[in-house]
């Protein structure tokens, strides 16, 4: 049971260059599953590897359960990691793979096999214990990697994109399994992914990183409803939020000839800036039946059955594109002009230059 604290921790590959992880500060509470998410090069994997002891911490501190681990080698940090490639030992059987960390710690044989059998039972691997990794499917290998982490009964689990080598169906299944297992074992877990759906569905809290900097650290719903800047707004949510730079006049912005009023606090926060970045999620746009709203021409219709997404460009500004959520089995077709209505209460506003959120 442990709490993990990144305290202004940095990883600088080459002095003078942009740090791979730049003064990261975040606390993972005991038993919490925290997801680090971001595009490639955001520093999320580096941050995890710093916690794992596979990358040095060049500045700042990193504490596991109050102990500063900056100079502690990874084997003494009481952590276990699931690698993206699983990193199973190819010459060892599933049983020996899972027992390896226990053997290295000099645990006695009977306790080793008890723990391995228990873990195999939890993960449904009992009948595969004597196989070699190459005789297993991708999903089974993934579970062996999980098993090797579980038997250790570590203070912290680290997972580096553990689902990225699985096919789509297996990924959804395993996603739920991991989340369920983590709940059951109640072990502090740090999980890295580039997939924002994984982040939203699995994380108790999610840390969004970009260019080595922490952008926002919050619960999934907080991230979705109140992104602190335009990057988080665009990164979280699928399809992505519509983000548009719009001119503002008299406390409102003009979107395709339609006035969208801005909240007073947004207007106050924007100050004298004459452009603001407006963000609207696809579900907060609706198709007006009577031709009232922003005129847009449909380019692509994605029909999902229960709902549909319409990719359109504005009739008056062909460069501005919009994604609109429509009803399932929509009648709208390619090339049609639709009238899009904006829910003014659901509009997010960001500073056009810094990207910071305006208002609450």
């Amino acid at each position: 049971m442990a709490e993990v604290v990144f305290d202004e921790a940095s990883r600088i590959y080459t002095p003078g260059a942009t740090p791979a992880v730049d003064k990261l500060s975040l606390t993972v509470n005991d038993g919490e599953l925290v997801v680090l998410v971001g595009p490639s090069g955001s520093g999320k994997s580096t941050a995890l590897r710093m916690l794992a002891g596979l990358e040095p911490i060049d500045q700042g501190h990193l504490r596991i359960n109050g102990r500063d681990v900056v100079d502690v080698p990874s084997k003494d940090r009481d952590i276990a990691m699931v690698f993206q490639s699983y990193a199973l030992y190819p010459s060892k059987s599933v049983r020996d793979n899972m027992a390896f960390p226990l053997k290295m710690r000099g645990m006695d044989k009977s306790e080793q096999s008890k723990r391995v059998n228990d873990a195999a039972d939890i993960l449904g691997l009992t009948e595969y214990l004597d196989r070699k990794p190459k005789a297993l499917s991708g999903g089974q290998r993934q579970r062996v990697a999980m098993g090797r982490a579980i038997v250790r009964e570590p203070q912290v689990f680290l997972m580096d994109e553990p689902l990225s080598n699985l096919d789509a169906k297996m990924r959804v299944q395993t996603r739920a399994q991991i989340a369920g297992l983590q709940n059951r074992l109640d072990v502090t877990t740090v999980y890295v992914t580039h997939d924002q759906v994984e982040a939203m569905t699995m994380g108790d809290r999610v840390a969004v990183l970009n260019h080595g900097k922490l952008q926002q650290y919050a619960t999934p719903s907080e991230l979705y409803d109140h992104p602190v800047n335009a990057f988080v707004a665009g990164f979280i949510g699928s399809p992505a939020m519509n983000l548009m730079d719009l001119r503002r006049a008299n406390g409102a912005v003009t979107l395709g000839g339609t006035q969208v009023p801005l909240a007073r606090e947004v207007a106050d926060a924007a100050g004298s800036a004459d452009t603001v970045t407006i963000g609207v999620r696809p579900e907060d746009l609706s198709i007006g039946g009577d031709g009232d709203g922003v005129k847009a021409v449909v380019d692509v219709v994605e029909e999902l059955g229960s709902e549909s997404y319409l990719y359109a460009h504005m009739a008056e500004h062909p460069d501005t594109t919009l994604v609109v959520r429509g009803p399932g089995r929509t009648k709208v077709r390619y090339g049609e002009t639709i009238a899009v209505r904006v829910d003014p209460d659901a509009v997010h506003a960001f500073d056009a230059s810094s990207g910071e959120r305006l208002g609450s």
Partner: protein, 293 residues
């Protein structure tokens, strides 16, 4: 390549389409197979001829045109054994086995360091290793002879062991390095997080993966040392002579005693062939590193 050779005319006829395609692609593979057979036989024939000649009488061996049908005899092998093959065989075996073991012992850690823990000058070190192979041995034989003579190690098997080790080391380091590079770094990281020391990681994780590579490297070293002639003929005589120098005794300037020479050569080639056979399974494994992912 093979499928494009005979496309044109075949498609113009009125036969069913699926038969068309099958027929038009058939000649290519047949040609390639034939070519492969011709090449393989071309390479294998001299060896076959040597083995056949070893079982002939000198009279049969000299006959022109050559005979394929003859009464086999072990007479030549008996002569070769009578000529005292024992010490030469022992010397070759000793020089080959010991130098190969030394090479593996030295090349494995070197290759590990050069592949898993690269530093700024790693490329330079690699080049230095291979550059030692760029000088022809004949250019270095005089200084080597002088040194060996001064330390009193002429006609000593340990001289050959040291030289064969030095001769095979660069190739072994390069070969082993390429095998080590196939080991994913995540495996080493996983082992270190699991609490394994470097020694245990090497023994329990890395070596089982690269063992086919070690076998391949060992086989190359065995072949090179077993067949080495130049050092052996210049630095040894009665005491430390190896199989190739023994073989030379049967070469006469008149081209006589072909059958005897063939028998000696067959005996000299046999150990290498056996070694290759034994290592074959492991070598095939070496080509399929797929188990890692």
């Amino acid at each position: 390549m093979a499928t494009t050779t005979e496309r044109g005319p075949a498609t113009a006829t009125s036969e069913p389409a699926d038969q068309e395609i099958r027929r038009s692609t058939r000649t290519g593979p047949v040609l390639l197979t034939t070519l492969t057979w011709i090449l393989a036989i071309g390479f294998f024939f001299p060896v076959l001829w040597m083995v056949l000649t070893a079982f002939k009488t000198e009279g049969d061996a000299q006959s022109s045109p050559p005979t394929f049908v003859f009464t086999p005899t072990f007479e030549q092998f008996a002569t070769v054994f009578d000529a005292g093959i024992g010490p030469y065989l022992a010397n070759s075996l000793g020089a080959t086995v010991i130098s190969t073991l030394l090479v593996l012992l030295l090349a494995t850690p070197a290759a590990f360091a050069l592949s898993m823990r690269p530093v700024e000058k790693t490329q330079d070190v690699l080049f230095f290793f291979i550059s030692t192979k760029m000088l022809p041995v004949v250019a270095a034989i005089v200084p080597i002879y002088v040194v060996v003579n001064n330390v009193g190690l002429l006609d000593n098997i340990w001289t050959l062991i040291v030289l064969y080790t030095a001769m095979n080391l660069p190739i072994a380091v390069w070969m082993m390095r390429s095998f080590f590079l196939e080991v994913p770094s995540e495996l080493l990281e996983a082992a270190s997080m699991d609490g394994a020391s470097l020694g245990r990681t090497l023994r329990e994780v890395v070596l089982p993966i690269i063992s086919p590579g070690i076998f391949a490297t060992a086989l190359i070293c065995v072949i090179f040392s077993w067949n080495e002639f130049f050092f052996a003929v210049n630095l040894t005589s009665a005491n430390a002579g190896t199989m190739p120098t023994f073989l030379v005794q049967f070469v006469t300037s008149q081209g006589l005693y072909f059958a005897q020479l063939s028998a000696a050569a067959t005996l000299a080639a046999l150990p290498v062939i056996i070694a290759g056979w034994v290592a074959q399974n492991k070598l095939v494994q070496g080509l399929s590193f797929g188990a890692v992912k």
